[in-house]
């Protein structure tokens, strides 16, 4: 396992370099710059600003400067938020997104796996139909609509939960529920399909014929073998959830980093765009590595060396 982690860590360096390089080129190719504003600035002032941020240097030099800073862990400066570095911005926002994303992930797995399992066991019955309808709704209804409905139902109508903001644990429930809706539906569908497939295997029939109760067979044997595909999608899912959701953060006024994936581009905040891309890539690499490790626990046939 140590070898796998080391190999992945070494691989991460060229992957991140490629992400950095491609993003660096793309953000500079897009028309419009960070200092284009409604009030066009006199050329002398534009020159001062560009000099301040080294944007007056040749692009190749800017690129080398950026890589140099990046190698020291310095993600650069924000052109939009003049008094804050990208490190400052992300160190404020990232923990919030991790908290919200982890809650949503927990809800998605803790609700999605039982829902999918129940649906598979009760295949073709009312419960299956109910679970799958719910998950189809979860996949097809966009989160801004889910969020708006939850705000209206639980916040305004029943006054059971706060409408928005990020003040106390109670404030976290609605955004976490909203964010978990889609992944929960995915997990439920995937679990159902996988459980159904495993239930057809000979050894399940053997287990049942040896006298094991249906519940024990499902929980101890079927479920464990069914989880491989679910765990597979947990890698990218984790990356998506803990780097924040623009929509959910937007409608619930959550101060996470999801917004920067959109606003940094709108503002042409070059270093912030680069940082969000790099962090996303890094988390994807880490979570996929964790998924690979998890495989070995679920299915002894999978060996890390392969």
């Amino acid at each position: 396992m140590a070898w796998l982690v080391l190999r992945r860590a070494l691989w991460a360096i060229p992957v991140l370099w490629v992400v950095a390089t491609v993003t660096f080129i793309l953000v500079r190719v897009v028309p419009g710059g960070p200092f284009d504003a409604e009030k066009n600035l006199p050329p002398g002032i534009v020159a001062n600003i560009k000099a301040k941020y080294h944007l007056d240097r040749p692009v190749a030099e800017q690129y080398l400067l950026y890589l140099g800073r990046l190698s020291r862990g310095d993600l650069g400066v924000s052109y939009k938020y003049a008094n804050r570095t990208v490190n400052d911005i992300l160190s404020d926002a990232f923990p919030v997104s991790v908290q919200l994303g982890a809650m949503a992930l927990a809800i998605a797995v803790l609700a999605g796996v039982p829902l999918g399992t129940v649906a598979a066991v009760r295949r073709g019955r009312l419960l299956d139909f109910a679970c799958m309808t719910l998950s189809t709704v979860g996949i097809s209804v966009p989160s801004f609509l889910v969020g708006a409905l939850l705000i209206y139902l639980l916040g305004i109508w029943l006054k059971a939960l706060p409408v928005a903001l990020w003040e106390s644990p109670r404030h976290m429930i609605l955004p976490a529920l909203t964010l978990s809706f889609l992944p929960c539906a995915y997990v439920a569908r995937l679990t159902r399909a996988s459980v159904l497939e495993v239930m057809q295997k000979d050894w399940v029939r053997t287990a049942r014929s040896k006298g094991l109760s249906p519940a024990v067979t499902i929980v101890k044997h079927v479920l464990r073998n069914s989880l491989v595909p679910v765990v597979t999608i947990l890698g990218p899912l984790t990356a998506v959830l803990i780097t924040g959701s623009f929509t959910v953060e937007y409608i619930f006024a959550v101060p996470g980093m999801g917004r920067f994936f959109i606003t940094a581009v709108i503002n042409r905040d070059y270093d912030l765009i680069m940082a969000t891309s790099l962090i996303f890539a890094l988390i994807l690499i880490v979570s996929n590595t964790l998924v690979d490790i998890a495989y070995t626990f679920l299915d002894p046939k999978i060996r890390l060396e392969h």
Binding site: V30, P31, G32, G33, F35, D36, A37, E38, K39, N40, L41, P42, P43, G44, I45, A47, N48, I49, A51, K52, Y53, K80, Y81, A82, N83, R84, T85, D88, I89, D92, A93, A148, I151, G155, I156, K159, P162, V163, A164, L165, W166, Y250, I251, F252, A253, P255, R259, I266, N267, R268
Partner: protein, 491 residues
């Protein structure tokens, strides 16, 4: 309250946006401050003299203005602030607001290396002298504008970029920056050292809720006491229009369609005049539904120099005659022209209406081109299309902020229209010290711009829509859209 977004910076020497100014205007005070009628009233300066035909200002500071750390305000705090704004190393976008000061331009653009020659000087602790390179009657307004507020150089030197954080910042205004959770909330607290007395309002929470419907739900749940356009969707405005909590304020923001006059067919004045008389501006409030004020002239009604007849009348018959005279009878042979607009719901509604009216009244075809905001800005600055939709908001309540825009030398004049007559009128108005004569000069320039030359078609003035809870008293709204909280009470 909801300010809708994170203020990009609370450093008043660097920031340029209205969200930051909303906060800074309550933290800090300059030489003067706006009164209810948007005139400059004494603030840190108890009085001032305008000397040498408007070329020299001498400000006499109050002796009782304290910074939040207890230190007394000095005239040198202003000198240092203005020189920092102009220092090229600061990279301040609004440095050009001080270009009327002697040697300010030269210092900011590196033509002189030292700020010593810049015409702002603390003569002693309570006297500040400002020398202008030419008379500029609007200059006094800049002393109420955030970028001209004094700074504590020692604080900035000590903390660097982090000086605006609550634990470091030192201010002199009615409120103190108590807490700042970035991207989420700012808390202000009443300043016991404020020279006009500690405000009644002890605490202000400014949330940064971007989504309008969420913010409005918070208002309806009594979690916000005051909301404005940032929290107010058009359907909500419609629903609340008759509520006693609702207020509507016309802003000093004028919206227009510009022509690139260097491009055919708009190089022909008759075509431009035809277009400007073929637009019925009365429909805009019905389309945009925020009580917008139709406007045919560039100077808004709130400012001196405004005259109801400066703008062209709506006269489709006359418009058709003008277009025929230009060689396009009933629109025949008129090329399809592009109208560029930033991709937003409100701007789309406006340009679609104009497209429709021009088709009906002049039988000309307009092709609408939407671009993302920054792409649109770059297109506008680099290579303006034949027609574009744009707007301009005032930085200070003086016609100059609007009228200078269409001078030959203004970098924001995307029409590329150039008139030496217009330029001379504006220069004369800038230097004129007599208010009546000055208003008259702007009136003549406005008429030339909107009615005789028409490089633009003025459309409407934007409005601010607000809701205030009944327990909040003393809120005063102004057309500059700056909200001061020092006189507000909650009961």
């Amino acid at each position: 309250m909801n300010i809708g977004a994170e203020p990009p910076s609370l450093d008043w020497g660097v920031t340029t946006d209205s969200t930051s100014f909303d906060v800074i205007s309550n933290l800090q005070v300059g030489l003067t401050q706006y009164n209810g009628s948007l005139q400059c009233a004494p603030a840190c300066a108890e009085r001032w003299e305008v000397l040498d035909g408007g070329r020299r200002y001498v400000f006499h500071l109050r002796g009782d203005v304290l910074w939040s750390d207890g230190r007394r305000l000095k005239a040198s705090d202003f000198e240092e602030a203005w020189k920092r704004l102009l220092d090229p190393r600061t990279g301040a976008q609004y440095a050009y607001y001080l270009y009327d000061i002697e040697n300010a331009f030269a210092f900011n653009t590196g033509r002189i290396k030292s700020g010593d020659a810049v015409g702002v000087k603390a003569l002693d602790d309570r006297t500040l002298e400002v020398r202008l390179k030419r008379p500029a009657a609007y200059f006094i307004y800049l002393t109420a504008f955030c970028p001209s507020y004094p700074i504590r150089k020692d604080v900035i030197d000590r903390w660097g970029d982090r000086w605006t954080e609550p634990e470091h910042i030192v201010t002199n205004g009615p409120f103190l920056l108590k807490d700042w959770k970035h991207e989420y909330k700012i808390e202000l607290a009443a300043n016991p050292l404020y020279f006009e007395g500690e405000p009644d309002l002890k605490k202000i929470k400014m949330f940064m809720v971007a989504e309008q419907s969420t913010a409005f739900a918070l208002y309806e749940n009594d979690e916000l006491d005051y909301v404005d356009n940032r929290s107010f969707s058009t359907p909500d405005v419609e629903r609340c229009r008759s509520s006693p909590q609702y207020h509507n304020v016309p802003l000093l923001r004028n919206n227009y369609i510009g022509f690139n006059v260097t491009r055919k067919p708009f190089d022909d004045r008759r075509v431009r005049l035809a277009f400007t008389q073929a637009v019925d501006r009365r429909v805009f409030p019905a389309i945009l539904r925020r009580n917008e004020l139709p406007a045919a002239s560039w100077i808004p009604p709130q400012l001196p120099g405004y005259a109801p007849d400066s703008g062209p009348p709506y006269n489709p018959e006359r418009a058709r005659q003008l277009l025929a005279a230009a060689g396009y009878p009933a629109g025949a042979g008129f090329p399809v022209v592009e109208l560029l607009y930033p991709n937003r719901e409100d701007t789309r509604l406006v340009v679609e209406e104009i497209q429709d009216q021009l088709k009906r009244n002049l039988n000309v075809r307009i092709e609408l081109v939407a671009q993302e905001w920054k792409v649109y800005l770059e297109t506008l600055h680099r290579d303006p299309p034949p027609m574009f939709r744009n707007s301009w908001g005032a930085d200070y309540p003086d016609p100059e902020t609007f009228m200078n825009l269409f001078t030959t030398y203004n970098g924001n004049n995307s029409t590329r229209w150039s008139s030496s007559v217009y330029d001379r009128l504006i220069e004369a108005a800038e230097a004129e010290q007599d208010a009546g004569r000055r208003a008259d000069l702007y009136r003549r320039a406005d008429r030339l711009l909107c009615r005789q030359e028409a490089p633009i078609v003025c459309t409407y003035l934007s409005t601010q829509n607000l809701m205030v809870k009944p327990w909040v008293h003393g809120m005063e709204f102004n057309s500059l859209d700056i909200q001061f909280f020092k006189g507000v009470t909650v009961r």
